[in-house]
Symmetry: C2
Amino acid sequence: MKVGYLGPKNSFTFQAANELFEENNLVSFASIPLTIEHLENKSIDLAVVPIENSLEGSVHATVDYLFGQTAITVQEEIILPIRQQLLGLEEVKQPQKILSHPQALAQTKQYLKTYYPEVSLEAVSSTTFAAQYVATHPENKLLAIASEKAAREYNLKVVASDIQDNAANQTRFWVLALDKNRQITRNTQDKKVTLFITLPANLPGALHQVLSAFAWRKIDLAKIESRPLKTNLGEYFFVIDVVLKENEILIENAVKEIELLQAKVQRVGTYSINRFT
Amino acid sequence: MKVGYLGPKNSFTFQAANELFEENNLVSFASIPLTIEHLENKSIDLAVVPIENSLEGSVHATVDYLFGQTAITVQEEIILPIRQQLLGLEEVKQPQKILSHPQALAQTKQYLKTYYPEVSLEAVSSTTFAAQYVATHPENKLLAIASEKAAREYNLKVVASDIQDNAANQTRFWVLALDKNRQITRNTQDKKVTLFITLPANLPGALHQVLSAFAWRKIDLAKIESRPLKTNLGEYFFVIDVVLKENEILIENAVKEIELLQAKVQRVGTYSINRFT
């Protein structure tokens, strides 16, 4: 079995994928669209991509790619705490630059502002690349923000550990497949259903009606979010995550009712939540 | 009067600001947080920043900065069509690289995939920087994606015009001020109210109740969006844009009712919409 993931090796997506799959099944890709494209042309069996971070919000590249792609479904969700480490060849008091991926820089903004207010930050393509670059440029007095795994891989010291601004920083990842009946579920306790809903016409009444269909059935929503339809300013679709208990038939009834209201509903997946610490 | 904006000169935010204010009042800043910080410490009177693009969605840097900053209010909204031009010193059949800001690269993704599938794309800090770099590096066979103004400023040829993927590509900008009573409104027809709403407890019932307060009063919502509270995964606040007609008192009643439900409501602004073509 081949499992594609948003690389490079030792990225947070790699760590997430490695929680469910053996390392020798994993294949790295350079971007989220590339990873999912390889799933679509069947050169891989599963794709692991990030979907949401607790600080930065949704990963739009994933949400926007999946919108309208009805052949792909979510098989599993993986929730991983994101810990960022400040790495260097040695403890540098006044580094010339600090390198990392833009999301890692965003997740450590307060820390960097407090301890390195004058140091210029450089956005690079991945946290792994940042660690590798620092390891191979000893003359430059650089630091990188990356994972503990990257520190071990490139023989870097952890200059400061767990520097993420929020202790509860977590990222959700999705395991995607083409085969709707594939089951790799390990966790049967904690399940969700994700729906993309496009409303027929004007927002206020329609969204209220959609939420009513869930509310009066006492169906819990874990999340509701809007994304632009990329048509005109002010036109959106909605990402709705529904908590699945012993109410699967109620959820299906709610969805049918919503479809009767002329809304389009894309069933993105019914999946288990796998939490790691 | 000093009006700060997200620069550099000739950026799309510059163009938006320049629709309402004289060029010699405009002061450029390098980032959205920096622009708003200068408003807060009163070194500028107004700040112009992007808030949403019709393809890319909300500008999180703006939304997240304003959340909780109750001293700042939105005075005006500016809506501008975003046209992207492919610029070069000459028509290069096989450019070595195409440079632009990440958002401009995202907005021309389909065009680049069709016409330049093999060319590497380089993300730089602004479209203006991309144009300037191309103009000053004739030996490198580069192209830039930037505005017509940038083409004129740096004497570049428009190799292909209006290459944005969507003809209806528009961006909303906000004019921010500290003084709630300041009035620079030119357009009195087309008005909105923006609210940031933090729900008291569990999402499903509470959000449905909030929307009910608007729905039964037949108040139109132009937008509803969630952003992470940056506490735990799954905790959000909501950005709600309300269409203001002759119903200001109804909106205020709805807000009061929502506050009685223990939701926190931040009144981000009541403002006119200024559309340009």
